[in-house]
Amino acid sequence: MSDDLAEVYRTTYQALVRFLYRKVWDPDRAEDIAQEAFARALVHRPDNTRGWLFVVAANMARDDARRAARERRHLTLLKSEPAPTATPSDAGAHEDDERARVQAALEQLTPRDREVLLLWDADLSYDEIAAQTGLARAAIGTTLARARRRLVEAHESGGKRDHAARG
C-alpha cells in the first residue's frame, strides 16, 4: 500500500500542488496542504487515492482560505509588518501581474466550472472529474468548453466584470 501511495505521490504531487495553488494562491501553503493530504492518505488508506486526495485537499484549501480571511481581519492587531504573501521582486513583477490577471479571470467562472477546469488541468480524467464533482461524464466536455471560453473571455476583457457571456 505504501508503495502504491509512493507511486501516486510521484505522479500526482505536483498536479495536486498546482490545483491547490489556484485555490490558495500561495506556493508554500499549496505545498503544505498537498503534503498534509498525502500524510492523511497514509493514515486513512483510501481505496481511490487520487480522488480522495483531491477531495481532502480541496476541503483543506477551503478551510485555509477561510482561516486566512479571518486572520487578515486581525492583522491590524500586529505591528506594521509586510503582508505575509507580498514578496514580489521587480524581476517577478511581470509574472505576478500575469498571474493576477489569470486569477481574476478564473474568479469570474462559476465555482463548478472553475473546479472542473482546475481538476482537468491537474491531470484528472473525465471519469475522475465526474466522480469528483457529481456531474455526469457526458457533461464534462460541455462544462470544460464553457469554462475555457469564459476564462479566455474574462482574461481578454482585462479581468473586468462581464456577465454577458453567462447564460
Binding site: A30, D32, L78, V102, D121, Y126, T142, L144
Partner: protein, 285 residues
C-alpha cells in the same frame, strides 16, 4: 446528422472520446466543413486556456521526498508519539508560563513607579513576608529579561524530566540543522536570541526571537512525523491545558499553535493573542 456540440469536440480534443462516440464524430467531421472549422476553433481555445492556466502555475520546485512524508516509523507512532506530545506540551507550557509572567511583569515594571524595585525583590504581602511567587517572575528591566528567560526553563521542567537531561544545551546554527535535518525556520527580520535543544533530547529545538522589545516568542521545532500530521495545522491544543501547572492554567492569554513548514513541525508561543500568534506563525519560514 446534426452538427456536433462543443462538449463533444472538447471531449475529443481532450482524448476523452472513445468507441462509437468517437467513430461517429469522426464520420461527421469527414463530411462537414463547418464542424471541422469549429473543431479548429475549439482546438485553439483549449490551447489558449491551457496557456493562461500555465501562467497561474506555482513555481517549479522539486517535491519533498515521499520518504519524508511516509516515515518508516509511522506504524508505531501511537503510544510513543502521544507520550512525547504530552511531554512536549507540558514542557512547552511550563516554559511558556514563565515567559508569560515575565512579559507581564515586564509590562508592569515599565510603568513609571516611585522607585525601581531592588534587584532581588520578590513581591511582598502586606505583612512583609515574601509572596509565594517565584523570584524569577520579577523582571526589573528589559535588559535582564533575556537572562531571566534563559534561566526559566529548567525551573519549569518537572523533576522527572530534568533527570533525563542535564540542561538545555545551546545550539549553534549547524547543530540546530543537524537536529532538525534542515535549517530551522524563523521569523524573518527578527534576531534569534537563543537556540537550545530541549533537555529531554527529543529532537525539539527551541528558538527564541524578540518580536518587539519585551515580547519574546518561542518556536518549538522538530522534524515532522507523518503520524502527527493528521490534524491540519494550525491546531490549538486545548487538551494541553490539562497538562499545565495551575499557575499556567490561570493565564487566560495562553495560546498554543502549530504549523508544518516543509519537513518541520513548528509551535509558537508568546504573550500575544492567538490571532496574532497565528499570524506570526504564518510568517515563519
Amino acid at each position: 446528422m446534426l452538427h456536433v456540440d462543443e462538449g463533444l469536440l472538447h471531449a475529443y480534443l481532450d482524448g476523452e472520446l472513445a468507441g462509437a462516440e468517437r467513430d461517429s464524430l469522426l464520420a461527421h467531421l469527414a463530411e462537414c466543413p463547418a464542424c471541422r472549422n469549429r473543431l479548429e476553433e475549439e482546438r485553439a481555445l483549449v490551447a489558449r486556456a491551457g496557456e493562461l492556466l500555465g501562467r497561474a502555475a506555482p513555481p517549479k520546485r522539486a517535491p519533498v521526498p515521499f520518504e519524508r512524508i511516509a516515515r518508516p516509523r509511522a506504524p508505531r507512532w501511537r503510544v510513543p508519539a502521544a507520550w512525547a506530545a504530552t511531554v512536549t506540551i507540558a514542557f512547552a507550557m511550563g516554559w511558556y508560563a514563565q515567559a508569560e509572567r515575565l512579559a507581564h511583569d515586564l509590562a508592569l515594571s515599565a510603568i513609571p513607579s516611585e522607585a525601581p524595585p531592588p534587584r532581588t525583590a520578590s513581591p511582598r504581602r502586606a505583612d512583609g513576608r515574601p509572596a509565594t511567587r517565584p523570584p524569577v517572575a520579577r523582571a526589573p528591566a528589559a535588559k535582564s529579561l533575556q537572562a531571566e528567560v534563559a534561566t526559566a526553563p529548567m525551573a519549569a521542567v518537572p523533576a522527572a524530566l530534568r533527570d533525563e537531561g542535564t540542561a538545555s544545551p545551546a545550539l549553534d546554527a549547524d547543530a540546530a540543522r543537524a537536529v532538525l535535518g534542515r535549517a530551522p525556520a524563523v521569523l524573518p527580520g527578527r534576531a534569534v536570541l537563543r537556540m537550545t535543544r530541549s533537555p529531554t533530547d527529543d529532537g525539539v529545538v527551541v528558538i527564541e526571537q524578540e518580536w518587539t522589545p519585551g515580547i519574546v516568542l518561542r518556536l518549538y521545532e522538530r522534524r515532522a512525523m507523518t503520524a502527527d500530521r493528521v490534524d491540519v495545522a494550525p491546531t490549538r491544543a486545548p487538551s494541553a491545558r490539562a497538562q499545565v501547572a495551575p499557575s499556567a492554567a490561570r493565564e487566560p492569554r495562553h495560546e498554543y499553535l502549530a504549523r508544518y513548514v516543509n519537513s518541520l513541525r513548528i509551535e509558537i508561543a508568546g504573550p500575544l493573542a492567538s490571532d496574532s500568534l497565528a499570524q506570526l506563525l504564518e510568517l515563519v519560514e
